[in-house]
């Protein structure tokens, strides 16, 4: 794999992380990250939809008329979301119960539509596949990070294993305000690292 292909894949992990840098898909980020399991499930479902819809939209980009492209994308995305929704309902009923309406809501997730509009309708099928995969993994990383912090602080457990006794749990981190707090601080930390890196790069270029 050439360097540029690798770059398309990995840019979503950190440099253009959809949640933490591009700030897309805030709704599922805030809503489902109460535990690591939920975060992983949501991340995997979104990655699947991203991958498939990016590929199909990229393949059909010359067929879809420009004026009706957004409705067409929605139909394609909704198809894959229905598939993954039924799959999760069938094989992982407990995950389906805890994610609830947020699986169907992947249809209107701005990451999926954003990548279709910004990347898939301009690039080849293989590049779009890599982009969808990278962005999906980046989304999963961000969700798992936020979910992990919230689960450890809020319920005192990680992946369901109790680490901290119940009397030391801070309920606020399981509730909505905790989601905003953790999201904000994780974002600030990522921004700090990115800024540090850029400074270093500039420094190197100057020398």
């Amino acid at each position: 794999m050439s360097n540029s292909k690798l770059n398309i894949l990995t840019k979503g992990f950190f440099k253009e992380n959809p949640t933490l840098i591009l700030v897309l898909g805030c709704c599922p980020t805030l809503a489902v990250t109460t535990s690591v399991v939920n975060a992983l499930g949501m991340g995997a479902a979104t990655t699947f939809v991203l991958l498939m819809s990016n590929m199909l939209i990229s393949a059909l980009k010359n067929v879809i008329p420009d004026k009706v492209r957004i409705p067409s994308y929605i139909v394609i995305i909704a198809t894959f979301v229905s598939m993954i929704d039924l799959l999760i309902q069938g094989f992982l009923p407990s995950l389906s119960a805890s994610l609830g309406v947020f699986i169907p809501l992947i249809v209107v997730n701005c990451i999926v539509l954003g990548r279709a509009e910004a990347f898939a309708n301009k690039n080849t099928v293989f590049d779009s596949l890599l982009d969808g995969l990278g962005m999906g993994i980046g989304f999963t990383i961000a969700l798992t990070l936020i979910g992990g912090i919230r689960e450890i602080l809020g319920s005192g457990s990680f992946l369901g294993f109790q680490l901290i006794p119940a009397e030391y749990n801070m309920l606020i981190f399981v509730l909505a305000p905790g989601a905003f707090l953790v999201f904000g601080f994780v974002m600030a930390a990522v921004r700090y690292i990115v800024n540090k890196r850029e400074e270093k790069k500039k420094h190197c270029a100057a020398e």
Binding site: M170, L171, P177
Partner: protein, 319 residues
């Protein structure tokens, strides 16, 4: 040489007021309430207050020194005031480690990320109090019964006045007005004594650190609306005097809502701010899920302060 005229830029009139002086005056004004709570709740009050102040100052110093790389300005006393007010807003039976978490929230989330003193849109002590209330609902609503000796038998807990009303308990158990005035009732340890708080507020008014607008409009709004409800249905809604003297109303109206950083600047703006706080407080108390709404209402009104400031600009001359 001293015959020469000194020429300098404006301002030409100086006052000897400084942030430091104001903050220490606020600390001084809270001393009566502190002494009363020590009398009623004993040693835990002293420990919690010292822990809260110490942690607030320490966290502010550490964040300024090692994260922001600024010259620490903890000697301005603002962290001491935050710590003191935060401690006043918790029950005296609170575990010490929760107090430390509260101090971290006040300084590390509500104050320093916004840029420190003068830049925080929300009152840090109240943000910490509300965070603790949501994070530790059990520990934050276990109210020890005040025992007016140096009682170490603090295992007895009871409801607060407002808690009793909210749960529809036996209203004959409500404390008498005298008890509520001097502080003989359950509650966060700094809020119980109305008289001690009013002495402190009078001192601040005399020193012109606060003006009458916010406390009076805040308390009057609560009193009037509670009075209307009481007149409409005395069986269901309690006397407005009880609303006035119970919970954190006086502490909130005189010491929290009047925080210079997070309240409007013009007199009419302050009155709108105070009325808004009062309205939200009574709505939460009567219709809300929580028995007490002072801290939520002040925080909500903090959020609209920029809007109020925009609406009530002082008149510009020579324009």
């Amino acid at each position: 040489m001293d015959k020469l005229l000194h020429i300098s830029g404006s301002p030409h009139v100086h006052s000897d007021e400084s942030v430091k002086k104001i903050m220490w005056s606020v600390v001084l004004s809270l001393v009566p309430a502190f002494l009363v709570s020590v009398y009623y709740f004993g040693l835990p009050v002293i420990i919690l207050t010292l822990v809260s102040i110490g942690c607030c100052v320490l966290f502010e110093y550490l964040i300024q020194r090692y994260m922001l790389h600024q010259k620490p300005s903890v000697d301005d006393g603002s962290a001491v005031v935050t710590g003191l007010l935060l401690a006043f807003n918790v029950p005296s039976s609170l575990p010490i480690w929760i107090m430390v978490v509260g101090a971290l929230v006040a300084i590390g989330i509500a104050k320093m990320p916004y840029g420190g003193l003068g830049h925080n849109p929300f009152n840090p002590a109240l943000v910490a109090r509300v965070t603790l209330l949501i994070a530790f609902p059990v520990q934050m609503t276990t109210w020890p019964v005040p025992t007016p000796i140096w009682g170490f038998a603090d295992a007895v807990t009871g409801p607060t006045t407002l808690g009793l009303i909210k749960e529809g308990g036996d209203l004959t158990q409500l404390p008498s007005y005298v008890d509520m005035l001097i502080g003989q009732m359950g509650g966060s340890f700094g809020e119980v004594s109305a008289i001690a708080l009013l002495i402190g507020a009078a001192f601040l008014l005399w020193k012109r650190i606060i003006t009458w607008h916010i406390p009076v409009s805040f308390i009057a709004t609560v009193f009037i609306i509670a009075g209307i409800f009481h007149m409409a249905n005395p069986a269901e809604y309690v006397n407005p005097m009880i609303h006035l003297l119970s919970g954190g109303l006086i502490l909130g109206a005189c010491f929290m809502a009047t925080d210079m950083v997070t309240s409007p600047t013009s007199p009419w703006g302050m009155i709108v701010f105070g009325c808004g706080c009062g309205l939200l407080t009574i709505i939460i108390r009567i219709f809300g899920a929580y028995p007490e709404g002072v801290s939520f209402s002040i925080l909500l009104m903090n959020a609209v302060v920029p809007l109020i400031n925009k609406g009530f600009k002082p008149k510009q001359f020579a324009h």
